[in-house]
Structures are given as structure tokens and as C-alpha cells.
Symmetry: C2
Subunit: 141 residues, 2 copies
């Protein structure tokens, strides 16, 4: 089973979900996320679900579970790119999104996380002396 | 067949490839990318392949093809997160990566694109009057 890659951008983690998720894969993702949140000290997590067309109650609860886990690592969670049909299904299923915030797209989600971090007094990478990006490493000639 | 989502972050597009790609899906991705490059005016494209464990010659050529397409839309392409086994395979297959640059991870890839854009005198979104991020829209209470 392939794992869902977790990308790091500044002090935000980014997960993009492509397929309809199997339950086991969701559990693996939760473990990977917890590990990565701990190892990176990220203050935010963006879950992109723009490719997700169908949700069931298990997937719906996943968002709240992941957000609760992130909370324990002092990180906020934003779900971005929700399709209208998915939003309607979540409401019809009566699923609580818990601590999950939502945004229209990745950029707006990143903006929310930056505001939340600032409001909580988190030292973001931008505030530190080190630059956000390391000097580029260029492999091809 | 599900499409691979293309995320937009500032004036960079981001594609994360999770699975071993079928040929038809690659063609669809190329079309989607060309359309998105045209509609957004992005100056860069990052392809994350950290979840890709196996490549064949078709996939190997895909990178060069996508980079050539991006070039026509005045955008640079960086492939990030390549696994060691994939790198070895690409060399053994003798596949030319063409205009494709590579970087260790997403952050370094973004840094390369920012430098390339600056070198080419591209007006990045940061230079314009409008803020990079719109005011956050918050859906959950």
C-alpha cells in the first residue's frame, strides 16, 4: 500500500488526497501525520480534497480526528478545495467537523494558518533569522 | 478516471504524484497542466514525486515533455522528492531530463523557481500591489 506523501512548506504541512481513501490508508496517514508534526514542529496542516468526489462517514470523521491530533501537536488544520457535492454530503450526514477550518483553496488556507499562528504568538519561520528557503540545490546542469 | 489535482500557490503550480501513473492519466495531466498554466499565468511548476517508487521510460519522458510544455507558457519546471531508486533507474534508462531541474524537496524547489523568475525579470506576485493571499474565508464557525 502506498503512503500519501506529506509535503512541508515553511512551517506548514500539506497533504493532497487524490483518491477515495481506503480505511487502512486513512489510519496510516494519521500515523504519518502525527510523526511528521512531531518531527517538524509545524504549526499548521492543510488537507487538500479538491480531487475527492465522494465522502462517507468514515472519511468525514477523519478530518475531525486529524484536526484533534494536530491540536495536540500545537498545529491548526485547514481543509481546502472541498467540492460542493462533498459539502452537501457532510451536512446531510450530520458530521461534525470539530476543530477543522475550511478554505476555498490552498492559498486561502495558508493565509488562515498564518493568521492563526500570529494570533497564538507562534514564532513562524519568517520571524526567525534563518531564511525560509535554503539556498537552491540544482541537480541538472 | 480521476484527475490529478493541480494546486496553485502564489504564481507556482504544484502537482503531487501519488501512484504509479497510467499512460492515459499522464496525458490528461499534461492537458490539465497546459490549461492551468495558460489560465493562471504561473511562472513555475513543481512536480513532487516523493511517493513514486517505480519509473519506466514513459514516465521518465513525461518530465521532459511537461517541462517543454511549461517552457511554452513561460514557466520553469522543478521535479522534487525523487527517491534514490528512481534516480538510478532514470540514469540506467538513459533518459534525458531535458529542461527539468530537480531539487531535494518542495521548499528547495520553490526557492529555485523564485530565483529563476527573478533572473528572468518575471513580475512575481510578491512584487505587485495585491497581497499574495486574499483575506481568509472561514467557513466553519
Amino acid at each position: 500500500m502506498e503512503r500519501i506523501p506529506i509535503l512541508k512548506l515553511g512551517d506548514v504541512l500539506l497533504v493532497s488526497i487524490h483518491d477515495e481513501l481506503q480505511d487502512q490508508r486513512v489510519l496510516t496517514l494519521q500515523e504519518d501525520l502525527a510523526e511528521k508534526l512531531g518531527s517538524t514542529g509545524a504549526h499548521g496542516l492543510v488537507i487538500d480534497i479538491s480531487a475527492v468526489e465522494i465522502v462517507d462517514s468514515f472519511i468525514g470523521r477523519m478530518f475531525a480526528t486529524i484536526a484533534s491530533i494536530s491540536r495536540l501537536f500545537d498545529a491548526d488544520t485547514v481543509v481546502v478545495g472541498m467540492r460542493p457535492a462533498v459539502a452537501i454530503t457532510l451536512v446531510e450526514l450530520g458530521l461534525p467537523l470539530g476543530n477543522v477550518r475550511t478554505a476555498l483553496n490552498l492559498e486561502k488556507g495558508m493565509a488562515i494558518l498564518a493568521k492563526l499562528a500570529a494570533a497564538r504568538g507562534v514564532t513562524t519561520i519568517e520571524d526567525e533569522d534563518e531564511p525560509v528557503y535554503d539556498p537552491p540545490v540544482q541537480a541538472s546542469p
